[in-house]
Symmetry: C5
């Protein structure tokens, strides 16, 4: 029960976000570059991991005042929740992030993009929580020297595999500078989309069967909902691809050649995600067509039954009507003499059965009896 | 009552503007570069605000003759109403605006654009009054040295937040040159579109419910109207984005680097507006499809009832017809002996009920009784 | 009567030109560069206006032999009718126009284009006679030194306002070289499209009302016709925009900077025309959809009435049929005892009325009675 | 009869080529650059014309061994039929044509293209035989010094006008080098498409009338066939335009400036052909829509008649049924006293007529009787 | 039976791959650049062919340890099956292939692409097994000096013709360096698509006939399946064309000029494949339209029969009903005197036949009896 009920609020939620994209936006006419977060922002919380090849220091909760750039190793500052402006502004000042970039980070309706202002590379992407209906959270990654700062809207993210690799010193992440860490986070974020698409695949497969078997208004609503979510997903996937393309261009000379090779691999993943999303969108369009045809097919079936019954019984009823007429057969031998024949009634029944058989024959020949 | 009636003239108004886009255009074959305003232009009225970091001087109504460029601080001349050519020409001469630019400013059917002729940057945009149906007013911004001149068709604009910021010295507007003021006005103008789209979102949400529940010609008309308005809005949003892109390109070296950063932020807003408008346009297309399907669904429902009633009663009526025949049962024992049986009538009724039950069974099996 | 009949031949004419675009083309395999005009070309007639700031000389009909370039002032030679090759070849030789350009001028199925061969700028455009159905005449403008030569297919053109300005010395046309005159003619030609689009707007508005009220095959034909005309208009408008863009590019260094500014203004007009044409094309598509839906709506209405009548009367007829059976009630007390009851008939009528009321109730509940 | 039957095999032929585009291709995995012609290639035959301003030498059939480049004048070698590899390879060797180009020439499924390998310009185009259904033959033109070699699949071509001009020394073809001859052949080839499109125009015009009057499956098939042919034609026309554009680019410095001017004229023709083809394709789409609507219209008409007849007679039959009931009027004065009234029967008839008139009135008001 | 059953698992298989594109992907969050093959990968097996003009050495199964580059001649290492990482990593190390490239080679969901990292050119394409439903296997070709390494997912490939040409020393493959071998493999791989498309052509031809004759849900499913397969094929064909274009660009200076000419020929083939695939996709869209129309046509036919029968018999039944009324003709001479006429019954029958004939006449005139 709990399982069946949970999706409903999520879907309504998606619909609300869809039709009211600006509800939670800052007040119209606010001073540009001044921070004002959305009303349902989560309180801010700052985590920090500093590591190099040999050492590793994890702080689950740090004060803003204690933040500063590191001279050796790589620092990853993860900011969760965007409600507390003071903290975010302090981080912005500490790492010299331009106020406009901070504004973009806090206003969580940005399209995926990359921006480089005064040596600070900011990448804004969208992170999935791998559930349907779609909910995509904004994630901003800021690269400033050896420090990578990530901002996310809510606790819970796709970065756990990266944290594990850092903790367990798997792969090359511990040996590499902050730009490689940025790549790792982007890669992890994109990887999390694959199970989501897998879910959409399952859903569409099920929907296709349902539409073929018993198309109804519920299926129509579902098709419309999925169509919108995939449209949103497609826009995001497209944005991710574009962002990665620009990041690869802009990072020339700034990132190590190796990291850029890895980013190109990331770009392939992003393109692949886009491909699959577009295939799925085509599927949804096909499902809508299928829904239409199923409806027509049904009307056709209903019509066929009506026609079958009507055309068989209407002529028979006519015969019955004829012999129900009250012409006085005693007055004239031309007035319904059949009613007085000995075999009149069986003959009339035979006539009716003959007509019905004739009509059935016509139907059979036209192939309307088969299925 | 008043509330319900007001939208109607607005919509008719939109339709008129849509089908007669050139009604108010200057006479065909007029001398190029000569001003001739549209017949329903509003009388011209000139306001001026001169400010720098410390001083602020507001004139609600100034004479054209007293206008001149300022040497220190920033001057904002706001021209409301485009009926009075003399005044506009005088301003044009005073600030050396090319006659063709003045013509563009007065002929209020321009597409959004930016033009630089002889050092004067002119940006032409469209301003919303945040009401549905759509009415977009042309606004022209001319930058000439430290002076920014804005032209608008009618009193009432989206610039109040900027005026407030100047008066109350909020943000950086008082410290910055006229190009920053230009940015502020553009930003305020674009910001005013967000509540408008919010309204369209609400409207579409309501329309979707109506079309699902009871599709009728009224909904169809509404869909068509909204479709057109969104098409017009999309064209405008697209124009704004293009204009901002060109402005950022052309302003290189002319505007301060900081203002150009802010303009880039503006460009993001414009892109976002375009995105949402396009989502909404897709929604309208979906609504139209939904309308079609609802119609088909209804025909189907009507057909189903007809078929249900017909196929149940037609065979029963046939049986009744048979026993209504007048074969003379006294003449032969083959002529309708059932009419003389003791249980003939109940048997006939049973036969009819049996037939009806059989048909209902067929219907039930085919799933046509459900829903 | 005369008014109603005139449009018909015009529309048939448009259809003919549409389906037979090459009927009047030169014979296949003709020698390239050799002139051969279409069979329904009009006899050639040459006019000339020579003017400078102070003097003005108008010749309504000049001999080809007397033509030559002018040393001072501007010369406008207007060639009306393209039947007489000799004359046109003589003009071509006199002003050194390449034979291929002359061929383009005479073969009146060219797309709008600009061509510069050996210092002669040729602009080919299409001129409207402001009537529906569409008829667009080819106009070619050749600029050769201080002389502008215009070629048109038939008497009657959009250039009257320019002639008036020259005669009355309005605006700047008398002070400017021939390139400004070229701009004036292009501007006048484009201006003449605005009333045409205005007419299409009126027509579409009327058509929309008709399709909503009573869609029929006549409306369908009209939609198809208008669609084609707008497609042709769109192609022309697109061609005009492209031609002006290229003219502005190619005229760099050749035309005065001022004329080029004016041409850019012209380009804005051309873009605007294209915009409106495209809006109208979308309207036509919407009208077609509306036509489809109206048809479906009608089928639905017809079905609903049939179902209403059938489902009300079929059960009632069945009851009547039952009591029309001839079971012999004298034989058994089970055989239709109702027929012998005192209130049997009123009871049967009540039963029928009850059934009808029940069906009406079902209809009312499903909302099929409303509207 | 002969005329009506001939198109059928052609159309089947087109369908076969459409669905089996590779039937006649070389065996999979053949050695690249090795010639292997299609199975239904025609035996090879070589013609030669050598000419300059004064002399002209025509050989209807030449041996390959006698071929060589000419030092003065222009040589046109026309190769008809591609079955004989030896001959074609010998020509290839003689004029140093790269084996890959020879392969392209022989494999007659190439898209229009231009290729320049080692100084040999090869233009591959498609030639029409001006009959419907479409059959386009591949023509390859190779320019090698003063020699132009043309390859065609079958006897019969569009080049007759050029041959006539050479023989009769019309126009400039005799004075010009081989590149001008190439232009002449391309021009003649393109010119031959105009009558073909003229035929399609006529066909579509006829089809439009037929679909409006009596849409049937035959019309549907025809629409589908024409749609495919026009799609193929469009692709070819597009290829021709692209090929000419590239030829003009690549021929810079290689061809005389004059020939290039003529080629630009050719490009205009190709663009025009493309335009008309695309218009016709839109017509076909419209015809399909028209076919759909005609079908719906018909269903609607049928429904309307059914409804008219049913709703008029069903209530009348009900009245007849009521008075056909067997309530015993002798038992009670409430049992069908009407049957014993003196004017009972006329009254019943009046009632029926009244009901029918009422229904007709409803129909008339809803406009369902008109048309 | 066997033949009919085999396609089903293949089709289900295609559907599964379509809806679950990431099922077999590596675990989310894996270390980048580390190999982990899909679960149903085939065990790895390595073949080697070393040849030059005179010598030829074929090893059907070689150890990885014995692999090294060759100094003379060309070496082709063919790796079949991607399950064994150790082997593939060893090959990667031996020929200095970047780990990311190895990852691409093993993860068999790559789009066609070409990549050059540190002098190693990697081309990833998709190979067909020429059966329907579509199954495309990933093939990776790595060029490293004189060695070409090919990786394929499963035994069985399209390269047999190339092996034969090497063995039998046909064509130029033995004389040329490894880049020519790469071209040969690409060419063979593309050539294998032609028979596949030939099969699709046959299938569509058959499907078109079936949809015209007897459209049913089975045909609809088939259309949807083929549509998806062609969409996938189109994406692949598009990828191949793009890959070849980039390969030609990137190979400048790296490959011999001759090989690049052959690659351009390959590009033509790839374009041709894309063309045909797109034609077929259009056919599928047409088939869907045809299916819709056939359904409508059928509903129309059914309606027509119903209307025919109903409109003929309903009026006749009404007449019979009238004369079945029980008005007491003995009471009044106005009460159904016809029943007592001598010719009353034949007259009534005549009336009925007259009505039926009238209705048939109406039908005949409207053309509803024909077909």
């Amino acid at each position: 029960m709990d399982e069946a009920e949970q999706p409903i609020p999520r879907r309504i939620n998606f619909r609300k976000r869809f039709y009211h994209p600006f509800q939670r936006r800052t007040r119209v006419g606010s001073v540009p570059g001044k921070l004002r977060s959305s009303k349902n922002a989560v309180p801010t919380h700052v985590e920090r991991i500093v590591f190099d090849q040999t050492t590793l220091q994890v702080d689950d909760s740090v004060e803003t005042s204690s933040l500063s750039d590191v001279t050796t190793g790589t620092q990853w500052i993860n900011v969760v929740g965007l409600a507390d402006h003071k903290t975010i502004e302090a981080i912005g000042e500490c790492f010299e992030i331009h106020p406009l970039l901070l504004e973009d980070i806090i206003h969580t309706h940005q399209r995926p993009k990359v921006d480089t202002i005064k040596g600070r590379v900011v990448v804004i992407l969208r992170m999935t929580d791998q559930q349907i209906p779609l909910h995509l959270e904004q994630v901003s990654l800021v690269l400033s020297g050896n420090t990578l700062i990530s901002f996310q809207e809510r606790p819970g993210d796709s970065f756990e595999p990266v944290r594990k690799r850092i903790r367990q010193s798997l792969g090359r992440v511990r040996d590499q500078p902050a730009d490689y860490l940025m790549y790792c986070l982007i890669d992890a974020l994109l990887d999390a989309y694959f199970p989501l698409l897998e879910q959409y695949g399952q859903m569409l497969e099920k929907l296709e069967d349902e539409v073929t078997d018993s198309p109804g208004p519920q299926e129509q609503t579902q098709i419309r909902d999925v169509k919108r979510e995939l449209a949103y997903l497609r826009k995001t996937a497209y944005g991710h691809r574009e962002t990665l393309q620009r990041l690869i261009q802009e990072s020339e000379g700034r990132f190590s050649e190796d990291t850029r090779l890895f980013l190109r691999d990331c770009l392939d993943h992003a393109s692949h995600l886009l491909d699959v999303t577009e295939s799925f969108r085509e599927v949804v369009t096909d499902l809508r067509d299928l829904y239409f045809t199923s409806l027509s097919q049904r009307t056709n079936d209903v019509m066929r039954l009506l026609t079958l019954i009507s055309t068989i019984f209407i002529p028979m009823s006519f015969v019955a009507g004829v012999y129900g007429m009250n012409f006085d057969s005693s007055r004239s031998r031309w007035n319904m003499p059949e009613t007085r024949w000995e075999w009149g009634y069986p003959m009339a029944l035979m006539l009716m059965i003959g007509m019905a058989t004739g009509m059935l024959w016509v139907f059979y020949r036209r192939g309307w009896l088969r299925r």
